[in-house]
Amino acid sequence: MTRYTRRNALAALGAGAATAALPALAQTKAGEPLQIGFVYVSPIGDAGWTFQHDTARKAMEKALSGKVVTKYIENVPEGADAERVIRELASSGNTLIFTTSFGYMNPTIKVAQAFPKHKFEHATGYKTSKNVGIYNARFYEGRYLAGMVAGKMSKSGVAGYVAAFPIPEVVMGINAFTRGMRVTNPKAEVKVVWVNSWFDPGKETEATNTLVSQGADVVTHHTDSPATMQAAEAKKIHAIAYHSDMSKYGPNAQLTAVTHHWTDYYTRVAQSVLDGKWAPDNVWGGLKEGMIKLAPFNKVVPADVQETVNRAEAEIKAGKLHPFTGPMKDNAGKERLAAGKTISDGDLQKMDYYVEGVVGKLPSSK
């Protein structure tokens, strides 16, 4: 079996893309705005994953005012319905379509085959084709910085992590957070509670309370709702938000937030389609590209901590610091990276172990 990564999968398909790109150019008639469709996995709400995508959609529409028209469909379940929704968007004239959840991967590829002249952009997946590009963000870079803040601010040295599903992306975030936390407090521990849902405020609240009763005095989450933040506010502990700045839900609790920013990317992609220069790509941007940012620090975070974190941020942006640089052991003691080695993107995308400092065992790891 060939081990294949996102990058060489793209390379294999790249050859096809070069020949197919030519006839695909002349499809937006001059003067007519480019129609762009968005598919969202949850309701937009006012914080979270989908909210950030929708904020970017609006900002892009504003930036390219008059040149693009956007449409969106929210709350589209991953599964049998996704294909129809994507197809409907395509057949009603949206020639550029962003599908913003992992579970839309196979439907996106299928519809893209039926609409070879349309362009598709799928978030967080790994399959590309001659008219499907993929994009994602290096969320872990922000997580690492968040961990550094947590390490400085936690008195108990225990952080709590409310997580959705044990997929590489979430595991990578937990690990990056833990490594960041151990930079500022080498003895720090991270406890994880899995809620098996991206959005379940009830379970997220319960999970947060459980973590607090297990000694966590800083919590963070990889779920969509502000419930963790609200629970932290109620328990008078600190929290680090994810996806969106949630300071309005936890004005005292929120230390900072790891926030997602898609505006620049969406604007760039739409512009390249307008210019007839679009080609499928595999984009994985981070702090440097502005896809990930830290929200302003709470005033309780001391100036020296802010400074330390800002310095690390600058180093990551400059490419001098990678959160997963050896020596790195997993939490069973096995060496995963030798001293000085940096993890490859391929290994990162398949991460299925906890690093040293995370308490417990990863569900369903073999």
Partner: protein, 361 residues
């Protein structure tokens, strides 16, 4: 003066025919007001909701495709409901059907045998029945409430599926993402109409509906189940075993839901994912009642429900309405349909009474 609902001595024929018409009219009025209040052209909005989703061949295919699992689950549930067996867990039975059928597909991934698909269907039915057997057993043995048990098992079923796609059945080439391999062609239901996603599953659903109708109307067992529902004491007196009724009611529901589940994974999904149904098993409860627990009614009700789903998407796309508004409109329609049925068995009476004496209203 106040209004009072009074039981009719016999169901009103007129109300039976009038009820859906009145409900539809009321919904149109509400829709008109709602859409106008949202600043949309109400005519265009109603067109988008009810006509736009079915104006091409592909759209009609989608309508029937989405109606199939609803039809299957609802017709199975109705058989139980007629007999006072309250299976609320069709969603879980559907998931287990998908797991069992999907398991067969993955086990024979490299096989091109034409037997793979039939085997998957049988496994799906068996999976659904197995899941329904648990509440049946607990009900008949320990008198545990089947509503609660079947409902709670929905969550267990989705965790079973989750466990498998995160672990043993995860696609080894899928970057640890929780999905199985894509099924091979021999494990997919053949297409029915070219250029649509409609597959043979729809025909299977129709056949099941036909069989269900024959069973309930023409078989002795079906008759006994209906009697057990209408008059449990009489059925008992006539020697109809209550336990047998429970078992039949649950197993029929489970079998149909399991078939719907395998139909989804062998049809439009084509693999196992952590979520295989957007709540068909729950929506089917509404479908069963909107269809008045009658197989033919259920066919129409499932088409309506499917249309509502598609209309909701079209309204989001064409009218830029948020999904909560489309959900509101869908809920209103179903509420009116069910509420209007009250007048089949009840009449509204205006009661004039002298001022109440001692009671303070």
């Amino acid at each position: 003066m106040h209004l009072r609902l009074e039981a009719r001595t016999e169901p009103s024929r007129l109300a039976r025919w009038l009820s859906p018409l009145v409900a539809t009219f009321a919904v149109l009025v509400i829709g008109f007001v709602l859409f106008a209040a949202m600043g949309k052209d109400p005519w265009f909005a109603l067109y988008t909701f009810f006509i736009d989703p079915v104006d091409t061949r592909y759209d009609v295919g989608e309508l029937l495709l989405k109606a199939s699992p609803l039809m299957l689950c609802a017709v199975g549930l109705a058989a139980g409901y007629r007999a006072n067996v309250w299976n609320i867990g069709a969603e879980g039975q559907l998931v287990l059907g998908a797991v069992a059928g999907g398991g067969v597909a993955l086990a024979f991934h490299d096989s091109t045998s034409p037997l793979v698909l039939p085997l998957m269907l049988v496994a799906g039915v068996a999976g659904g029945m197995l899941w329904a057997a648990i509440p049946a057993l607990l009900r008949t043995r320990f008198n545990a409430n089947e509503i609660l048990v079947s409902l709670m098992l929905v969550y267990v079923a989705s965790l079973v599926l989750s466990l498998l796609v995160h672990g043993a059945w995860r696609d080894p080439e899928g970057f640890n993402f929780p999905q199985s391999k894509l099924f091979s062609d021999s494990a997919l239901l053949p297409n029915l109409i070219p250029e649509t996603r409609l597959n043979v599953g729809f025909l299977i659903a129709l056949v099941v509906v036909g069989v269900a109708w024959l069973f309930m109307r023409r078989s002795l067992t079906g008759y006994q189940m209906r009697v057990a529902g209408l008059a449990p004491a009489a059925a008992n007196y006539a020697g109809v075993s209550a336990a047998r009724t429970v078992w039949l009611g649950m197993l029929i529901g489970g079998a149909c839901a399991g078939l719907a589940g395998v139909g989804e994974v062998a049809g439009p999904i084509g693999q196992l994912m952590p979520v295989v149904s957007p709540g068909y098993g729950f929506a089917a409860i509404i479908v069963a009642f909107v269809g008045r627990l009658h197989p033919v009614g259920i066919v129409f009700a499932s088409l309506l429900m499917s249309l509502l789903y598609l209309g909701g998407e079209a309204a989001q796309m064409k009218l830029a309405l948020p999904s909560s508004v489309t959900g509101l409109f869908q809920g209103t329609l179903l509420l009116f349909l069910l509420a209007a049925d009250v007048f089949i068995h009840y009449r509204l009476r205006v009661v004039r009474r002298p001022a109440p004496v001692a009671h303070g209203a």
